[in-house]
């Protein structure tokens, strides 16, 4: 056995995420890349609830959780304090939130942080619903997914609106760095964490992280689904510097796009979809891929 892993785990084992949770994989990689000279805020959500149950904590870096909607504002305060007090600014300041805490309830705090140009990297762990409270619809929830507040039923096909294009909206704030990433591609993810932290000002990282409980897939499918999302074009990996969202850089491009069906069929949240629905989704993915030059 090696004397010590090269890099220390900064999210300790013993956290209470579900078996196979994509957030666990994501967080381990992200924190390793950020390193110990970091301070984090976290919004309420699975990540927070599963890692901070008193009197234990899974965090090896300083962490503050205040509420659900304000990770980015709390981070703004930390950044200002550090700048004011030590004026060096070598410490990474990370703001974590789920899709709910980023797309919806935390969006204003985030937009404000961007606009004020704090040197904070906000990382959204997107599992496409409010998971901590039991799989409710979020504006990140994709068209056709059944959630507990957008259930499929006699009068409903599940969520009936497209996913909010959050990273594009973030980029439109003219921030130095905005990117999407996912846990299937750890190197790409880490590289982007690194770029985000190095950026001179606010950065946004949209990290796609499947959730076996909410998406109703096997706990061993997590990475596979993250990969399929990219391979089918459901989730496009890109980055944009200085708000150049009309000229993004695609960072992972499969030779051939797989049909979305391969992605959908592995998840019971999409089990109710008919062939027509799937075709509709395929069409929309095709269009988006065209828009993104994918």
């Amino acid at each position: 056995m090696m004397s010590e892993n090269e890099e220390k785990e900064l999210l300790a084992s013993g956290h209470r995420m579900c078996a196979g949770c994509g957030e666990g994989t994501a967080m381990r990689a992200i924190l390793k890349e950020a390193g110990p000279n970091s301070i984090a805020t976290v919004a309420t959500g699975c990540l927070e609830v599963t890692t901070t149950a008193y009197p234990q904590t899974a965090w090896e870096i300083p962490l503050i959780h205040a509420a659900f909607e304000n990770a980015a504002s709390v981070a703004s305060g930390i950044e200002a304090a550090l700048k004011q007090m030590d004026k060096k600014g070598e410490t990474n300041i990370l703001s974590f939130a789920g899709d709910g805490g980023t797309f919806d309830i935390g969006f204003q705090a985030l937009s404000g942080m961007f606009e004020r140009k704090h040197n904070v990297t906000h990382i959204c762990l997107d599992n496409e619903a409010y998971m901590n409270t039991g799989i409710q619809r979020c504006s990140s929830t994709p068209y056709g997914a059944s959630t507990t507040t957008s259930p499929s039923g006699k009068e409903s096909i599940g969520e009936d609106r497209p996913k909010k294009p959050i990273a594009r909206i973030a980029g439109a704030h003219d921030i130095p760095y905005a990117a999407t990433a996912t846990i299937a591609y750890i190197d790409d993810l880490k590289k982007k964490v690194n770029k985000a932290l190095k950026a001179d000002g606010p950065a946004f990282l949209h990290v796609f992280a499947p959730c076996p409980t909410g998406w109703r897939h096997g706990s061993d499918d997590t990475i596979e689904l993250a990969r399929l999302a990219v391979e089918t074009g459901v989730f496009v990996l890109w980055e944009a510097e200085d708000g150049e969202i009309c000229d993004i850089k695609i960072t992972k491009k499969p030779k051939e796009r797989k049909p979305v069906k391969e992605y959908l069929k592995k998840q019971r949240r999409f089990a109710h979809l008919t062939e027509e629905h799937i075709e509709k989704i395929q069409k929309e993915v095709d269009e988006k891929c065209e828009q993104y030059g994918f």
Binding site: N37, A53, P62, A67, S73, G77, G112
Partner: protein, 398 residues
């Protein structure tokens, strides 16, 4: 001791100056009438190089308090200013700041809450956050606003306390009103208020710790009790620090200040700027031979029941004057005064007067009316109508 400089300034400038003298590190703030001059003054101090601090021009009050929390947890001295809808919007974060034991100080320009929207003096905004675990101070005049800011930092940061604090000055009546004040010298304030070094912990990669954990039912009640205890222990500490302030700066503060109460049959219990007018009314009534006194609340949280008992325990009537209303009950000061006396063998009869909502004036004659009504109740030996609204314009009632 440096000389104290005489100035004529508005209430907001007084609290801003109090803040400046306290050398805050981070001031996240959002404008709202009638407290806006506070962040404006701070901005000016910084722009002119008179204050070395970071002002965060947040996008909402919710973020103002959130940024205060982040800054304070990082070991910075954080303060902000707000009022009315702003305080309501940060309601959630007030409890969190207190639960995390972060000694943030907020200057409040007390104002009514919507609907209807109204920008004038009223205590509803801070009163309705009385459960949040913040210390609450209310000023009668600008001098008090200035001094209480400095005192608030000192008390809040005391390691036996570690609780956030609000300093309320009434909207317009103080915030926008120029009065003469004496400003302590910077070096004396520095001496009184040393730099903030959090004794309980801070966000620092050198010694990583987690703030804001999930407090399971096994621990939550004890954590809450521990926090509440800090508040319970505060009266003595406040008294001690008030005394020290008086020694250093020559101005006396009390959690409740009695005025002509010793032999009073009836005492008016007031808070904020109205106390001045009430004092004038008491003087006039005294000249007419009425045995009336005034008890002015400076500290509302923790509620100074101990002092209230001392001051009003022998009176026949206590007229509790509330510039706030909890519909379906009455005023907050009344409720807690009643809670103070409910188990006493001897208790004054209590009338509750709702006054001055949304900037409604409170005249000397209104205090006389309250006195008369309380006297009537005392004479009748019973209180028929415990809660009465004063200075109503009957003509406009529908």
């Amino acid at each position: 001791m440096g000389e104290q400089k005489g100035l004529t300034i508005q209430g907001n400038m007084a609290t801003a100056l109090g803040a400046k003298l306290s050398r805050p590190d981070v001031i996240p703030a959002y404008p709202i009438t009638p407290s806006t001059l506070f962040p404006e003054k701070i901005s000016e101090y910084i722009a002119d190089g008179e204050l070395d601090a970071s002002m965060i021009r947040v996008e909402s009050e919710h973020s103002a308090m959130s940024a205060c929390i982040g800054a304070s947890a990082s070991g910075a001295r954080a303060c902000t200013a707000s009022a009315s809808q702003g305080i309501a919007l940060m309601h959630e974060m007030l409890f969190i700041a207190a639960g995390m034991r972060l000694p943030i100080v907020m200057a409040v320009g007390n104002r009514a809450l919507s609907a209807p929207i109204n920008i004038w003096a009223d205590h509803q905004d801070s009163i309705s956050s009385r459960d949040s675990g913040w210390l609450q101070f209310y000023a009668e005049k600008n001098q008090e606003g200035l001094d209480l800011m400095i005192l608030a930092f000192r008390i809040a940061e005391d390691e036996r306390v570690l609780l956030p604090a609000m300093v309320g000055i009434d909207g317009f009546v103080l915030t926008h009103t120029v009065e003469g004040v004496k400003a302590p010298a910077q070096e004396d304030v520095d001496d009184f208020l040393p730099p903030y070094e959090p004794p309980h912990g801070k966000l620092d990669p050198e010694e990583p710790m987690t703030f804001g954990s999930l407090g399971t039912p096994e621990y939550y009640q004890e954590l809450k009790y521990d926090q509440t205890q800090a508040m319970e222990n505060t009266p003595e500490i406040i008294d001690e620090i008030f005394d020290e302030f008086e020694e250093r700066f020559g101005r006396e503060y009390n959690r409740i200040t009695p005025y002509k109460c010793e032999d009073a049959d009836i005492i008016l219990l007031t808070m904020g700027s109205m106390s001045g007018t009430a004092r004038a009314a008491v003087d006039e009534m005294r000249e007419e031979g009425e045995k009336v006194g005034l008890a002015k609340l400076t500290v509302f949280r923790p509620f100074p029941g101990d002092l209230l008992k001392e001051i009003a325990g022998d009176a026949d009537g206590l007229a509790v004057v509330d510039r706030n209303i909890s519909p379906g009950f009455g005023g907050a000061v009344f409720a807690e005064s009643a809670g103070t006396f409910i188990n006493e063998n001897r208790s004054p009869l209590m009338k509750n007067f709702i006054v001055g909502l949304g900037g409604r004036e409170i005249f000397k004659r209104n205090f006389k009316e309250m006195y008369e009504k309380t006297k009537e109740a005392v004479e009748a030996g019973e209180v028929k109508k415990p809660v009465e609204w004063i200075n109503m314009d009957e003509d406009v009632m529908r």
